[in-house]
């Protein structure tokens, strides 16, 4: 494991679905629940809008962790989008693991519009995990590093 700088703050990209998780993030905000400023939220219409390329590109551009948040299974605004996302992300994460990339760098969480507290807890926990892992070295693009 690489040495972690003392004041190291990871960069985290969170893809949040418009209908549940993004609203969950809103609720976390209006309920004054905190989550790390390093988490950058990208709103997507549905978790299944997240193409594997988006995740890899986030890593290329300097992300140290990527999390995808969507409606709970069964609650998708488009009926079944998150079920497809679940299969895709399962296979993609397993592939990244197969290539030797740390499996803790990617995560999927289901967060509803009513779960502001869960959103905050998830982000805090993910940020902590990624901080412990340190900088993303295995999926980095050196041209984006200086």
């Amino acid at each position: 494991m690489q040495e972690i700088k003392k004041d190291y703050k990871p960069l985290i990209v969170a893809f949040c679905c418009n209908w549940c998780s993004y609203a969950g993030a809103d609720l976390a905000g209006s309920s004054r629940l905190s989550y790390p400023a390093e988490v950058k939220i990208i709103r997507v219409p549905c978790s299944c809008r997240v193409n594997p390329t988006f995740i890899l590109k986030a890593f290329q551009r300097g992300a140290d962790g990527v999390i995808i948040c969507g409606c709970h299974p069964g609650d998708c605004h488009y009926t079944s989008g998150n079920y497809f996302a679940r299969r895709r992300m399962s296979l993609l994460f397993s592939m990244l693991d197969y290539l030797g990339i740390e499996r803790e760098r990617t995560r999927v969480e289901w967060v509803s519009a009513a779960e502001g507290a869960k959103f905050s807890a998830v982000m805090n926990d993910f940020a902590k995990t990624v901080t412990e892992l340190g900088e993303n070295k295995r999926l980095e693009d050196l041209r984006c590093k200086n």
Partner: protein, 324 residues
């Protein structure tokens, strides 16, 4: 085995002569005995160049995307592995099935020229093929090999059977493979993440982005590839950074996941001998483990695993098969 060539040639001549088909998609003789190329034959005199032998490894099904849209029927010879690709392409509405006359042809595994070269064979004057061994004649000498030593990687583990055909040319039962196709995937999964990372870094860093794997792949049939499309934001012609090697191969493997029939063409054609099929086989093994056994191309109607779901699917956090 030599009889197969005669039977195939006879079949092609007959069907051309009686007007059932307008042209024949097959393999053409080369200059060195092993360098067969896929070719279209229009007449009996064209067919003088036709050959089906131990070097007919190339999968012809992708050429049907174009050929099946032309006027008149095309006769195609499909080996077992090719017949899966054919089905898959029909399923994806890329081949006009009505315009294709398919003849399934027996295959006992095709030879790998690279492996022969390592054994000192640079030119082939003739091949005597048996089910489990093969004799190669080169510059007046005879060399005998157990099949496993010289087969293409894809052939040494092949369990496929002829699926889709109007007629079939077959004289022997298909040989059963002596190796397990997931063996190396399992080995890699059992490694630590650091070891796996080192393995793939060594392999993928060889990539010269010639796109041979993509262009030969029957599942890679997009009209415009995202890596060629300047508007996609990930178009690239070369790997300027090691990230781009991974990006290209992960995305390519992912895009064919659930559609890849494991025909092994990607690894056959890679000039740098990158075992690209190991990426596809990882997806296949994960799909089998998580969503039930699935073989792409087994028929031309069933939905693929990535266009289907069940409400009880595993969560992404619990899918990791291998070692951490």
């Amino acid at each position: 085995m030599q009889k197969l060539n005669e039977l195939a040639l006879e079949k092609a001549k007959t069907l051309l002569a009686n007007g059932t088909v307008a042209r024949v998609l097959g393999w053409k003789k080369g200059e060195l005995g092993y360098d067969l190329e896929p070719a279209v034959f229009y007449s009996e005199s064209d067919l003088e160049g036709f050959i089906y032998n131990a070097f007919s490894g190339a999968n012809l099904s992708k050429y049907l995307i174009e050929e099946s849209k032309k006027e008149g029927k095309v006769l195609v010879f499909l080996k077992p592995c090719d017949s899966y690709s054919f089905n898959q392409l029909v399923k994806e509405h890329r081949i006009v099935k009505e315009n294709v006359y398919t003849v399934g042809i027996e295959c006992q595994g095709k030879l790998d020229v690279k492996k022969l070269k390592e054994k000192g064979i640079e030119i082939v004057d003739g091949v005597i093929e048996n089910v489990d061994d093969v004799t190669v004649i080169s510059l007046g000498k005879e060399y005998n090999f157990v099949k496993e030593e010289v087969l293409l990687g894809k052939c040494s583990v092949c369990e496929k059977h002829l699926l889709s055909y109007d007629e079939v040319i077959s004289l022997h039962d298909k040989r059963t493979p002596k190796l397990d196709r997931f063996e190396i995937v399992k080995k890699l999964e059992a490694m630590t993440a650091d070891e796996r990372y080192a393995f793939w870094k060594g392999e993928l860093s060889k990539c010269i982005r010639c796109n041979a794997c993509r262009n030969v792949c029957p599942a890679c049939n997009c009209l415009k590839c995202v890596f060629d499309n300047d508007a996609s934001g990930i178009a690239s012609k070369a790997n300027s950074d090691s990230f781009e090697e991974k990006l290209f191969h992960i995305i390519r493997a992912f895009h064919v996941a659930g559609r890849c029939t494991d025909c092994g063409e990607c690894s056959r054609v890679c000039p740098q001998a990158i075992p690209l099929h190991l990426l596809n086989r990882k997806f296949i093994s994960d799909i089998n483990r998580l969503y039930g056994e699935f073989q792409a191309g087994e028929d031309d109607v069933t939905k693929g695993p990535l266009t289907a779901y069940t409400t009880g699917d595993a969560e992404p956090s619990e899918v990791f098969g291998g070692n951490k």
